[in-house]
Amino acid sequence: MMIRRRTFGAGLLATSLPLPAIAQSTGSAGKRGGDVIVAQQAQPPSLDAQTTTAQAARNISLHVYESLFTRDEASNPKPELAEGVDIAADGLTYTFTLRTGVKFHNGKVMTSADAKASMERYAKVGGSGDALKPVAAFETPDAKTLVMKLSRVFPGMIEAISSPRAPYVIMPAEECVKPAGQTAPPMIGTGPFRFVEYRPDSHVKLARFDDYSANMAYEKRDGFTGRKTPYFDSVTFRFMPEGGARTAGLQTGELHVLESLDNAAAKRLKDDKNIRAYTMMPWAFMTLMLNNNWGLTANVELRRAIQAALDLEEIMAISTDGLYRLDPAWQYPDTNYFPGVAGLDAYVKQNQDKAKQLLKAAGYNGEELVLVADNSFKAHLDAATIASEQLRAIGMKVKLSVMDWPTVTATRQKSEGWNMWPLMMGIEPYEGPYNVVGFFAGKQTVQIKQDPVIEDANTKLNTELKLDDRRAAVKQFQARVYDQAISVKVGDVGIIQATRANVMNYAPYRIPRMWDCWFA
C-alpha cells in the first residue's frame, strides 16, 4: 500500500475560474493584442526542447511547452501540468496526478499516455537524461495518473524533472517517437503560446493559444508556473548577434524586449523614458575551474597559492562592468541548500604575501600555468585576463590561450593541457545543488581528478531521504572545495533585462516571460 509521505502541490483554489480578463498579478487591467518583439543574441541549437540546455532555446520553448513540475519565482519545484505528486515512504514510487482538460496546440487533450511517452523519450534523448536512470518503469493506471517506479532512491527527482535546464516537457505521444532534434518545427505543447514559424538565422514567431488551459490552482504568475495569461497576439523572438544593434533596436522601438542589456548600455540609457531596465541578481556564478589532475594545479599547495593571489572583487568588477556581488557560497543565499559562508573569509581575501609563501612551499620553479578562455563570452575573457595578471604579480608564469567556445569546452574535457578555465555557471546554481555538486563528482568531474570527500557528499545528496542530511552534504562539499582549493568561486553575476516603457507588468526572470504582460 502506498503511503503518502510528502505531497508537492500548488496552493489550490476551491473552484475553477474562467480565463481572467484582468491580470491577476497586479490587479491592473491587461490588454490583449499586439506583436511583441523580443531580441536575443543566439539562435537555439535546436527547437527540440528536451535535447538542449541552451538559454536561447529555453527563452522560446518555455512559452510553448510545459512540464509536470517546474520552478516558481524562488526556484522551488512547483506543479505545472501535474496537480501534485505522492511519494511513497520508501522513496521508490512517485504518483503524479495530472490536470484534466489540458489541450495541446493540435487540439488533442493531454493524458497520462502523453506524459509517459514524453518522459520515456526524455530518458533516451534528453539533455539531462541521466536523472531518469533510477527509473525502472512508468505506468499509467488511468488517463490522469502517471506512476514512476524507481529501482533506487533518488531524492532529487522532483528537483531534476522540474528543472528548466533541458526541460522535461510534455508533448503529444505521437511526437515522442521522433529522434533527437526532430520534434520541431513545429513545436506542439500545452503552453500559452503556439508555434507559428521558424526562420533560421532570423526569428521564431509564436501566437497566443486561445484554448490555453491556465492553471487555476494558482492566483498569479509564479516563476515558470502559476496562472499564466497570454495577452499578446503574437511573440516574435529575433536572433540578433550584435549587442549594439539590439540596443539600437530597443531605442528606436523596433524591438520591445531584450533578454539582456549590458551594464554599460544600461547606464547610458538610464534617463531614456522609453526604456525600462530590470536588474536580476543573482543570475550566475563566476568561477575559475582548476585542473586538479595535471601540471601545476595538481599540487594542492599551488592551488591554495592561486586562491590567495586572486583579488576576487577586481575580477568581478571588471568582468561584469560592475554588475556583481561578492558571495563565496556555492549555493545562493535564501535557498533551500544554502551552506552558509562562515569561515570562508580567510579563503576569499586576497593575500599576496601568503600566496608567495604558498608558492614557495609548493616548490614552484617558474613552470607555466595554462589558462584557457573563450572569446565568445566577454566576461570569461575579462576574468581570465585579470586573473592571469594577478597571478603574474606573485611571480607566476602564465600562458593565456584564447579560443572559441567549442574549442575551450573540448579542451577542458581533456585530462591534460590546461590548468585554469573561467566559467559562468548560470542555470546550474539556479537549479539547486544537484548539478553544482554533481559537476565536481562522477567519472567526468570538472576538476578532472575525483575527490573522495566530494564523491561522498554527492552520494549523500543523491541518496539521503532527509533534507537536513542533504543540506549537510552540500556543506561538506563546500568546505572541501575551499580546503583543497579545488576550484575558485569568484562571485555572483547579475543580468539586466530591458523593455520598452509601453510593455506593462513585465517582471524579469530566467527567461523574458511574455505571458501576463501587455502593451499599454
Binding site: 538565422d201 529575433r238 540578433m240 550584435e242 539600437a248 528606436t252 523596433e254 567549442p406 569546452t409
Partner: protein
C-alpha cells in the same frame, strides 16, 4: 566563348575537390562537437555519449568520409544537425540575402567609385584629385563592421531614417527590401568604393596619355566626353579585374555585415555553424564559397571579351 568556359569549369573540379578535402579534414582536426554545444559545459559524460549517438556523431571518420563523398557525388551536401534540413536547401534559402547584399553593395561602390576615379584622373595633381583620393582612402581604411555600427547609430537611432536591422524579401516588398538594405549595402560599398576609385584613377591616367586620347582631344572633343567615351572604355579591363576582386572581398565583408544587421544570409548560417560545430553546413558553405569565386572569375574573364575586342580572337 565555350573555348574559355569549358576549360575553366574543368579546371574548377580539382580546386573544389581540394576544398572538399580541407572541409572534411577540419571535422577531424578542429575540437568540439554539436552534442557538447547542445548540452552545455556541465553535461555528464553519459549524457554526452547518448546524445552523440542519437545525432550520429559517434561514427568512425572513414564511415563519415564515405557518406560525405557519396553525398557529393549525388550533389547532396548532407543534412544540417542544427537546422534539421538539407544543407543545400539551407544555403539556397539564404543565398538571395547574401548575393543581393553583395551585389547591391558592389553596385553602389562602382556607381560612385568609377566616376570618382575618373574625376580624380581628369583633375590629376589638383587639390580636388587629392581630396577625392583622400575620401577613397578613408573608405578603404574603415572596417565594415565599425561603419555599420556607426550608421546604425546615426541613421537608425539618431535620425530614425532607416531600420536598424532585419530583412524583407525583394519579391515580397521591393521598397521594403531597399529600405532595409541601404545601410548594410552602404557600409559594404564605402569600403569597396575606395579600392575601385583608386584603381579607376590609376588605369585612366595610364590610358589618358595614349595617342588615341590625344587624337580625341585634338579633334576638339570636350574633356568629359574624352574621359567617358575613350578613357573609360579603354580602362575597363583593369576596372573589371578589380571589381572581381572587390566582389570576393565584399562577399567576405557581407558575412560580417549580416551579423551586424541581423540579416539571415549565408554568412550567419556559416558563422552559426562554426560556433556550434554543425559540420555539414560548414563543409557546404566552404564549397559554395569556392564555387562562387570560380564563377565570378569566369564571369570576369567573359567580360574581358566584351570590354576588349582584341581578346576575342586569342
Amino acid at each position: 566563348m565555350l573555348r574559355i568556359v569549358i576549360p575553366r569549369l574543368l579546371g574548377a573540379v580539382p580546386v573544389l575537390f581540394v576544398v572538399s578535402l580541407i572541409a572534411f579534414g577540419l571535422t577531424l582536426l578542429v575540437p568540439g562537437d554539436m552534442a557538447a554545444e547542445m548540452l552545455g559545459p556541465s553535461a555528464t559524460a553519459s549524457d554526452l555519449a547518448r546524445v552523440r549517438h542519437e545525432l550520429g556523431l559517434d561514427q568512425p571518420p572513414l564511415a563519415r568520409m564515405a557518406q560525405y563523398y557519396g553525398g557529393l557525388l549525388h550533389l547532396d551536401l548532407g543534412r544540417s544537425i542544427l537546422l534539421n534540413q538539407s544543407v543545400t536547401q539551407a544555403i539556397l534559402e539564404r543565398l538571395p540575402v547574401t548575393m543581393s547584399l553583395t551585389c547591391l553593395g558592389l553596385g553602389m561602390a562602382m556607381l560612385v567609385g568609377i566616376p570618382l576615379g575618373l574625376f580624380a584622373a581628369s583633375r590629376s595633381g589638383h587639390l580636388s584629385d587629392q581630396a577625392a583620393m583622400g575620401v577613397a582612402l578613408i573608405g578603404l581604411s574603415l572596417p565594415e563592421f565599425w561603419l555599420g555600427l556607426v550608421m546604425i547609430w546615426v541613421l537608425g537611432v539618431k535620425l530614425g531614417w532607416l531600420p536598424t536591422g532585419g530583412w524583407v524579401s525583394l519579391a515580397d516588398d521591393p521598397l521594403g527590401w531597399l529600405h532595409h538594405m541601404v545601410m548594410p549595402a552602404g557600409s559594404l560599398a564605402i569600403a569597396q568604393l575606395g579600392l575601385i576609385a583608386r584603381m579607376t584613377r590609376s588605369a585612366a591616367l595610364e590610358v589618358a596619355s595614349s595617342d588615341f586620347v590625344r587624337t580625341a582631344r585634338a579633334k576638339g572633343l570636350a574633356e568629359p566626353r574624352v574621359f567617358v567615351r575613350h578613357v573609360l572604355g579603354a580602362s575597363l579591363v583593369p576596372i573589371l579585374t578589380v571589381a572581381g576582386i572587390a566582389f570576393g572581398v565584399s562577399l567576405g565583408g557581407a558575412l560580417v555585415i549580416e551579423q551586424v544587421f541581423s540579416l539571415p544570409g549565408v554568412g550567419r548560417l556559416v558563422i552559426g555553424a562554426v560556433l556550434r560545430r554543425d559540420w555539414p553546413v560548414i563543409q557546404g558553405g566552404l564549397l559554395l564559397t569556392a564555387t562562387v569565386f570560380v564563377l565570378v572569375n569566369l564571369i570576369v574573364d567573359l567580360l574581358y571579351l566584351w570590354a576588349d575586342p582584341r581578346l576575342r580572337g586569342r
